[in-house]
């Protein structure tokens, strides 16, 4: 535990002493902010129209109108930006040979992997935390239900957790950061696209299996305000499997 924290602390220092963490956070905040802004504009113009046609303002649901698309946008932006955080985690250690230092220190291999994972999670949590202005604004100027917002954030947080586990695994496979980022982006994209493929074969058992595998399927409930144990299990399993395989990969690389 102590050594996990040591590794995590070092990783955070390295991340924040170099521009990457800031750049990725900035990209995420800017793009998600811009999309949020256009969604709000669109929603308000729509309600103005309804007001004009019907003469009265209906009870509009800001949660459905604004936050569902916003969470979807966040998921896509994270798919593109989190690999930039995770790509260096292990690939860089191998490239500059500091992995030799970590592996010859009295630190369990799992602590190294977990420290790296938690560091990336901390950066990601910070990124996500910075978007809290969105619900706060809506809450101040309108009325929103907090529960679906919180479950939505939980869903996105777990989704990012999966992206980071996949990215960490990708980073363990190569010394090259660029390759690592492509591998993790590709892998995450596949997890995402399975959902689309499954729509083509929707009524078969293959279809339902693919739907089950699809990661989008398992975040949708969270975004709609529901916490389903099946979704929790699915996302947690992906995270644990990702970390476990990373551990195995590092272990097996010693034997090469």
């Amino acid at each position: 535990m102590k050594s996990t924290l040591a590794i995590m602390g070092k990783e955070l220092r390295v991340l924040f002493n170099s521009p990457m963490a800031y750049v990725v956070t900035a990209i995420f905040i800017l793009i998600s902010g811009y999309l949020f802004y256009s969604i709000v504009l669109f929603a308000s113009s729509q309600s103005m129209q309804i007001l004009r046609v019907q003469g009265a303002l209906p009870q509009i649901n800001l949660n459905d109108l604004i936050f569902r698309p916003t969470f979807h946008n966040m998921a896509v932006i994270l798919m593109l930006t989190l690999p930039l955080i995770t790509m260096r985690l292990l690939a860089e250690e191998k490239k500059i040979k500091t992995i030799e230092l970590l592996m010859t220190s009295p630190v369990p291999l799992l602590a190294i992997v977990m420290g790296k994972y938690l560091a990336a999670m901390a950066v990601f949590t910070l990124m996500l935390g910075l978007t809290a202005y969105m619900p706060l604004l809506m809450w101040y100027y309108g009325s929103i239900q907090w529960m679906p917002i919180l479950t939505g954030y939980l869903g996105i947080w777990l989704l990012g957790g999966v992206f980071i586990a996949v990215g960490l695994l990708a980073s363990s496979l190569t010394e090259n950061q660029i390759i690592a980022s492509f591998i993790s982006f590709g892998a995450v994209l596949i997890l995402w696209l399975i959902g689309w493929i499954s729509q083509g074969v929707a009524d078969t058992s293959l279809g339902s299996f693919l739907t089950y595998l699809s990661i989008g399927e398992h975040t949708e409930n969270f975004i709609r305000g529901m916490i389903d144990t099946e979704d929790l299990v699915y996302l947690a399993t992906l995270i644990i499997v990702g970390i476990f395989i990373t551990h195995r990969v590092l272990e097996s690389q010693r034997w090469k």
Binding site: G9, K10, R13, N17, L101, T104, S105, R254
Partner: protein, 325 residues
């Protein structure tokens, strides 16, 4: 303190080290001498539990490297071939991180840090980013990393490469001071370095140990095969013949040079004939300009040692083609 028995490591078909056996006493500095690709780094990586061996056993500080790797790691300080540094951290940030992963208690960390900064002469640069330090300073940070937890055993892989002559001397001095309290294995491909710093030298070549000796006997052994370089301004045509009659001379090679004639005199093993050669040259008026014992290069040493070995084994072995590692 360190006990290595029959270690063998294969990478696929390539045998990096074979049947390596040696011991290091407590407080001793052992030199690990060999040309590129000899297997020095491989051996060190096995001892530090970074690589598993294919076969054989070893124990460090009383712990078996396969059974108790965590204990071994606690008692070793390791400076790899390329210092493992995070260029985005400052020296202090880096060493604090190291002190945490080496398991130094929180209350002792500051003291350990101050001590190691002083010992490695890093106090002035402690707040600088490692990425902005010169090669020599980085090497020192690497050494500080290995020393910070005051380990019983130090394993240093070519600690002086890339340093300027002054820094090499300083680095050797630091290492020498480690003797006694620490047990040190140091790898190098520089013969004088091994003889200057170490109490015992293991010579490894193509993955096999070809000699284990003290620097004294090693130098004595090397003196046996000394060549002498004799430069004469006015040699006579029969000089070569005359030189051959000097007792102990085995063969003579001549080569012209700008100021006279150079004679490479190879002499019998174990005989120092320099005084006799000088006397001859003066007596016959050859105009003695230079008389030096030619130091054997490391390659010559390996050639000699491996040839001695291969007399019993394979008849012919090219000792020079150690590949760069």
């Amino acid at each position: 303190m360190i006990n290595v028995q029959n270690l063998t490591k294969r990478y696929g078909d390539l045998t990096a080290i074979e049947d390596v056996t040696f011991n290091v006493q407590k407080g001793e500095i052992l030199g690990f001498l060999g040309p590129n690709g000899a297997g020095k780094t491989t051996t060190m990586r096995i001892l530090t539990c970074f690589l598993p061996a294919t076969s054989g056993t070893a124990s460090v500080a009383g712990y078996d490297i396969f059974e108790q790797p965590q204990d071994v790691k606690k008692h070793i300080g390791y400076l790899p071939e390329s210092p493992p540094l995070y260029t985005e951290l400052t020296v202090t940030e880096y060493l604090r991180f190291i002190s945490r992963i080496k398991g130094i208690e929180r209350k002792d960390r500051t003291e350990a840090l101050t001590r190691v900064l002083e010992r490695c002469a890093l106090t002035d640069v402690r707040h600088r980013l490692i990425g902005n330090l010169s090669r020599g300073y980085r090497q020192r940070v690497g050494l500080a990393q290995a020393l910070i937890h005051n380990p019983e055993v130090l394993i240093l892989d070519e600690p002086t490469t890339g340093l300027d002559p002054k820094q090499i001397i300083e680095m050797r001095q630091v290492i020498k001071e480690l003797a006694g309290q620490h047990t040190v294995i140091l790898s190098t491909h520089i013969l004088p370095e091994a003889t200057a710093v170490c109490q015992r030298v293991v010579i490894i070549h193509k993955g096999r140990i070809v000699a284990v000796d003290t620097p004294d006997t090693l130098s004595a052994q090397l003196r046996q095969s000394e060549k002498i370089r004799l430069t004469l301004r006015t040699p006579s045509p029969e000089t070569a013949e005359a030189l051959k009659t000097v007792p102990g001379v085995v063969s003579i090679f001549q080569e012209p040079s700008t100021d006279g004639q150079v004679f490479m005199v190879e002499c019998e093993l174990g005989r120092d004939i320099r005084t006799e050669l000088a006397a001859q040259a003066v007596r016959r008026g050859w105009g003695l300009l230079e008389l030096t014992a030619v130091k054997l290069s490391l390659e010559d040493v390996f050639l000699q040692l491996t040839q001695e070995e291969s007399k019993q084994e394979e008849p012919k072995e090219d000792a020079l083609n150690g590949e760069p590692g």
